[in-house]
């Protein structure tokens, strides 16, 4: 277990190192920090002097170590547009994105587990067939199209729900203000979370169904039937527990995909989160903010993936054996 842990940590660090190299290369090539600082009107000699002073003429290696040192201290540069530390800008936008992801996750778990289990237990019932039919249609609709259609139906035609922004938020502490405290906040978060959930739901329903069906075929479940255990106990205690193991791994990998889809969802609903901010930063060529976003998102990816792998290693002892001698 210890060797496995070390291996995973080493891989995480290596990936973070690669991300920091890419980020640094982007920062190095995108935009000119001198022009942002002094504008066009300064003579060439003063520019050269400034370049020396800022260390822009140093070797790549020297510049990179300086960059990495700053990043480790939490200094990701200052946003050109907001005139604030880039990390602060992102941390201010982070809660909105996290609440959106949270809302979507609750919907995904709440809907996919019952539906997945039901379609596995009764694969031939009409309801199961309808669920499976809808799920393949769901996979085929891109998330932004679901979002647009929902806006068109619920905001433009029926006028039931708001189509953009976060609405009334209640300040909790620090940069975090929540949508879940007011009715208006709930109404605002409803459409975006359903849209974000819609892309993952079919995948999870199908996955839970497939795993559950496989588990129901296994020896120990047959033994449980023979023992005369109540069906509900077999389904929800014996079978479901083992079904959830692969679901956790896939779920962990999907967190990364979710981050990408938040960019799409936030753009459609103009949700003031990280993803929307990133696209605005790209349009403004706000290099420090782009780089900071890369590092923060890369960090979230690496941490969640490592944790998911470690949990999986803990829960499933067979992983260790196959991976440790690899």
């Amino acid at each position: 277990m210890f060797a496995y842990l070390m291996k995973r940590l080493f891989q995480a660090i290596a990936v973070m190192f690669a991300i920091s190299l890419i980020s640094f290369a982007i920062q190095d090539n995108l935009g000119d920090p001198l022009r942002e600082l002094v504008g066009q009107s300064v003579s060439e000699e003063v520019r050269q002097e400034l370049r020396d002073e800022l260390g822009l003429n140093d070797s790549f290696f020297k510049q990179y170590t300086r960059f990495a040192g700053k990043v480790l201290q939490g200094d990701l540069g200052t946003s050109y547009f907001f005139k604030e530390p880039a990390l602060d800008v992102i941390l201010k936008k982070l809660p909105a994105t996290l609440e959106l992801v949270l809302g979507a996750t609750i919907i995904i778990i709440g809907v996919s587990v019952p539906l997945g289990v039901y379609t596995a237990i009764k694969p031939n019932s009409l309801f199961s067939k309808i669920v499976m039919g809808i799920s393949i249609i769901g996979i085929s609709i891109p998330v932004f199209l679901t979002a647009i259609l929902m806006i068109f139906i619920f905001s433009v035609e029926l006028r039931w729900l708001p189509s953009f922004g976060r609405g009334d938020v209640v300040h909790v502490f620090g940069p975090w203000s929540t949508n879940f405290a007011t009715v208006d906040g709930w109404l605002h978060i409803l459409l975006p979370s359903v849209a974000l959930a819609s892309i993952m739901l079919p995948l999870f329903i199908r996955l839970i169904r497939a795993e559950m069906m496989e588990t129901l075929q296994s020896e120990y479940v047959r033994f449980a039937w023979a023992k005369g255990i109540r069906p509900k106990r077999i389904w929800f205690v014996h079978a479901l527990k083992n079904t959830l193991l692969p679901v956790i791994t896939v779920g962990g990998v999907q967190i990364g995909t979710m981050v990408a889809y938040t960019i799409l969802t936030e753009t459609v609903f103009q949700w003031p989160g990280m993803g929307f901010m990133f696209l605005e930063a790209v349009n403004r060529v706000d290099t420090p903010l782009i780089v900071a976003y890369l590092i923060v998102v890369g960090f979230i990816f690496v941490v969640t993936n490592t944790i998911v792998d470690l949990i999986y290693g803990l829960v499933n002892p067979t992983v260790n054996l196959s991976r440790m001698d690899a």
């Binding site: 935009g31 189509s163 199908r206 990408a260 782009i290 998102v297």
Partner: protein, 314 residues
Amino acid sequence: MSMMADHQGNSLFARIMNSNMAYSFKRNPVAIVSMAIFLIITLAAVFAPLIAPTDPYDPSLYDILDSELPPAWTNQGDPKFLFGTDDQGRDLWSAILYGTRTSLIIGICAVFVQAFLGISIGLISGYVGGRIDNILMRFADIQLSFSTLMVAIIFLAVSQALFGSETFNKYALFMLVGVIGIAEWPQYARTVRATVLAEKKKEYVDSARVLGFSSIRIMVRHILPNSLSPIFVISTVQVANAIISEASLSFLGLGMPVSQPSLGSLISSGFDYIFSGSWWITTIPGVVLVVLVLVINLLGDWMRDVLNPKLYKG
């Protein structure tokens, strides 16, 4: 595949008609309908220049006075424009035909890139094994943990900022094919590697090795043809995914420009007008996109059931 046909006396067509797949195809109405719709859409896309009433790439052909006309079957519709016009006065029907073409080209080419990279890496990884296998699969793990869309968004966003949107728009097609192609290779590599590991132990590989064939020949001519069915199955799903990715990227403004729209950029250009009631600019390309992806997915599902590669999940 063609080389297999060479050795047979029967014609290829007769062999296809007698195969397992054709048998199950003829008995599966969903597969038949999906295939028919897919063929219609593909043919319409291939022959777009012949079918389309106007050339959507030529701005001199559209008239701003025709802008935002609803489809022909509605009250204010103009019979000249079957599906109405967009905000520039461009005929939506022509734009959709050309857009479908662009989306299909990007989807299929991207999957070719994926398949080429993934199959080569998977073959090497599975056949050679050892340290090389380890390193390649570790890369695949890492690549998979970053979602394709995320990688594509960041890569395209940075290159757009780096090259400026004019240069970017010129090469958008190649960039989309490249980035979707490169980001998804592990899907193929893993599947191919798994089948290679199973095939490698079989006797025909041993005998080929004893005959003194080179590793490359064994990999490409002996193992690869026996690993084709899972490759077919993932290919359909991958084409569907690539089309969705392309549409999503174009929707964000990181893909095809509005002057040479794909289905995604058409949907995107109509989104601004949906609040003023011009639903058709977004909805009609959206329906085409969903139907196209849906039939490909249904065909993929059918193919998976027929070929039933056990390695494929989800």
